[in-house]
């Protein structure tokens, strides 16, 4: 990775730290909640940016992967295993013996037994990756609108499953999800006192994600992905296994979405079907598009800006409409993204024309 990119990473670190210090200085640390959530959504967005901008594949199903991660972790860490253990269930006993279960008392003082968030998260990631793999094999053979429609279909299925399944809480979703203790003393949860820590957990995760993806983009694989994006036949004919490359990229970005889903679920202490909704997927796609498709930094910047505004309720009840409108405007006027120089040149040129 070039020096320029390490520099950008350093700038990102500086920005993350300054924002936290600024909220402290101005006594606005309540912003940290939305900034933390924004961080997790950014993780989905940079992953999608790899798929859309570099490998050139469109996915309207990423909210689905987010939800699979979040819901899996939610179910596993809230499903009471006490009765199963008493019945002598082999799997539960095995988990218990390996110390992978947590026992606590519930609100009424009854003993409850849950799976520890660490194994739950690992299972959630593996499950999401497997589903992305299986969906990806047939779906990634498609191109253009066919691919968009197939991934949209996948997103709808996941949404309807979340909405209709009893164990997933149907329309109410799952709540009272415990915190996720990453390391002793470092816990992903929504406790008031943990706000600063959680802000940093989210953004360190984003930072790790950015570094991994920037490394990838500037590697042999990244070059091959850009080649596939530009001229798939020619890439294949020069020796790139285009089908595998597209599939792996899709799976990686699904894993990014799943990790975001897992963390945000533990942070919020709950997850509902709206996280799996189509409008969420549309939102992710719109943000990557407005950031300039093949620009990790553009997507990140626009993602933070728009998600933060949305979470602060600035778009009111027009929230989804705003993202729909963004999509239309970008496609019409700035298919290379808003942060792209040529757009501004075009705008200033046409402004000049009107004057002249």
């Amino acid at each position: 990775m070039a020096v320029k990119n390490y520099l950008s990473v350093l700038i990102l670190i500086a920005v993350v730290v300054s924002i936290q210090l600024a909220t402290k200085a101005t006594d606005t640390s309540y912003y940290l909640t939305q900034l933390t959530m924004t961080g997790y959504y950014s993780l989905v967005i940079i992953g999608l940016c790899l798929v859309m901008g570099y490998a050139g594949q469109l996915s309207l199903g990423h909210a689905g992967f987010f939800a699979i991660g979040g819901y899996t972790s939610a179910v596993l860490t809230t499903y009471n295993l006490t009765t199963l253990l008493e019945q002598g269930n082999g799997l539960v006993r095995f988990l218990s013996d390996k110390g992978l279960l947590i026992s606590t008392l519930d609100l009424y003082g009854e003993a409850v037994l849950y799976i520890n968030p660490w194994p739950a998260a690992i299972i959630a990631v593996i499950l999401t990756a497997s589903i992305a793999f299986m969906i990806g094999i047939p779906v990634l053979k498609l191109k253009g609108h066919y691919l968009a429609m197939a991934t949209l279909g996948f997103g709808i299925i996941i949404f309807r499953i979340a909405l209709a399944t009893e164990i997933l809480g149907e329309a109410d979703g799952i709540s009272e999800i415990p915190g996720f203790t990453l390391f002793p003393g470092i816990c992903v949860n929504g406790d008031f006192g943990n706000r600063v820590m959680n802000y940093y957990i989210a953004w360190v995760l984003v930072l790790i994600g950015v570094i991994l993806l920037l490394n990838l983009i500037h590697s042999r694989v990244g070059r091959a992905l850009r080649a596939i994006h530009g001229a798939e036949d020619a890439a294949n004919a020069i020796g790139v296994n285009t089908a595998h490359y597209k599939l792996y990229t899709f799976v990686i970005s699904a894993v990014f979405a799943a990790v975001a889903g897992i963390f945000l679920t533990h942070y919020n202490g709950g997850i509902g079907p709206s996280e799996a909704g189509i409008m969420k997927s549309v939102r992710y796609v719109a943000i990557v598009a407005i950031g300039g498709m093949a620009s990790m930094w553009g997507a990140l910047t626009m993602g933070v800006l728009l998600n933060f505004m949305s979470l602060r309720g600035m778009f009111g009840s027009y929230d989804d409409a705003v993202f729909g409108a963004i999509m239309i405007i970008i496609m019409l006027f700035a298919p290379n993204g808003l942060l792209n120089l040529s757009v501004w040149q075009k705008i200033s040129k046409s402004a000049g024309k009107e004057k002249g």
Partner: protein, 254 residues
């Protein structure tokens, strides 16, 4: 010894028999030209060899191994590389990056080592870059290394594509009209280059309309007409072949 054996290859597009029962061999180290009028099926033949199109029937053996039915990337890995009649560069990538993609089969860093930027990638990446720069040098386009390939002049784009094909260190290079659109100086340059490549031990199969180029550099010629092979032999013999002359000069007095 035949490096490439093409046997009774057929390809139809609906009612059109674009490649009709074509057979010939390509010997190690030679330059062989495929000529024929427009629409004779030359590009289709190339697409069948490189795997970009599937044959309806027939076989292609490379180094005694069947390669018909393999995917293009598998055929590339065997050591067959190509250029296109209507240049296919990777848009949005510089000339150097285009050539670096050509080194794909000669390198191996995967997703994991790429994401973690493991030290093993560093030396490989350096090698990819050095070898690619050498090829830009060979094609005399070093100064355009960091220019977006698609914004280059036509001749330079051909050169980039040429370099990209060479970057994979192929055993066989398929060149589909390498001199099309070039002026006589550039064409002479290409001729020198192809001979140079041959001297490096690379076998060349060449489609070309420029007859003086073909006659100058090829060791053997195959003539296609309406999908069928109508002649094969040494350049001198092909030049005298009645049927070939008829095709090229029109058959008014035949």
């Amino acid at each position: 010894m035949a490096l490439l054996e093409i046997h009774k290859l057929n390809r139809r597009f609906g009612g059109l028999h674009a490649v009709n029962n074509v057979s010939f061999n390509l010997d190690q180290g030679m330059i062989k030209a495929v000529i024929g009028p427009n629409g004779a099926g030359k590009t289709t033949l190339f697409n069948l060899i490189s795997g970009n199109l599937q044959a309806n029937s027939g076989t292609v053996f490379f180094d005694k191994r069947p390669i018909h039915g393999l995917k293009p990337f598998q055929i590339a890995r065997c050591g067959i590389s190509r250029t296109y009649q209507n240049i296919k560069l990777f848009p949005g990538m510089t000339a150097l990056e285009n050539v670096m993609v050509g080194r794909h089969v000669q390198s191996k860093a995967g997703f994991l080592s790429g994401m973690l930027n493991l030290p093993s990638c560093w030396s490989e990446e350096k090698e990819i870059r050095t070898k690619s720069l050498e090829l830009l040098e060979l094609l005399d386009i070093t100064e355009f290394a960091d220019t977006e390939a698609q914004s280059l002049a036509f001749g330079q784009q051909r050169a980039v594509e040429f370099a990209r094909a060479l970057a994979s260190e192929p055993k066989i290079l398929l060149l589909d009209e390498p001199a099309a659109g070039l002026n006589i100086y550039e064409t002479a340059e290409i001729a020198r280059l192809i001979t140079k490549i041959q001297n490096r031990g690379i076998t060349v199969l060449l489609v070309e309309h420029d007859m003086s180029l073909v006659m100058d550099i090829s060791d053997e010629i195959v003539v296609l007409s309406f999908g069928e092979k109508i002649a094969e032999g040494l350049p001198a013999a092909i030049q005298k072949n009645k049927e070939v002359i008829q095709i090229y000069l029109g058959d008014d007095d035949a």
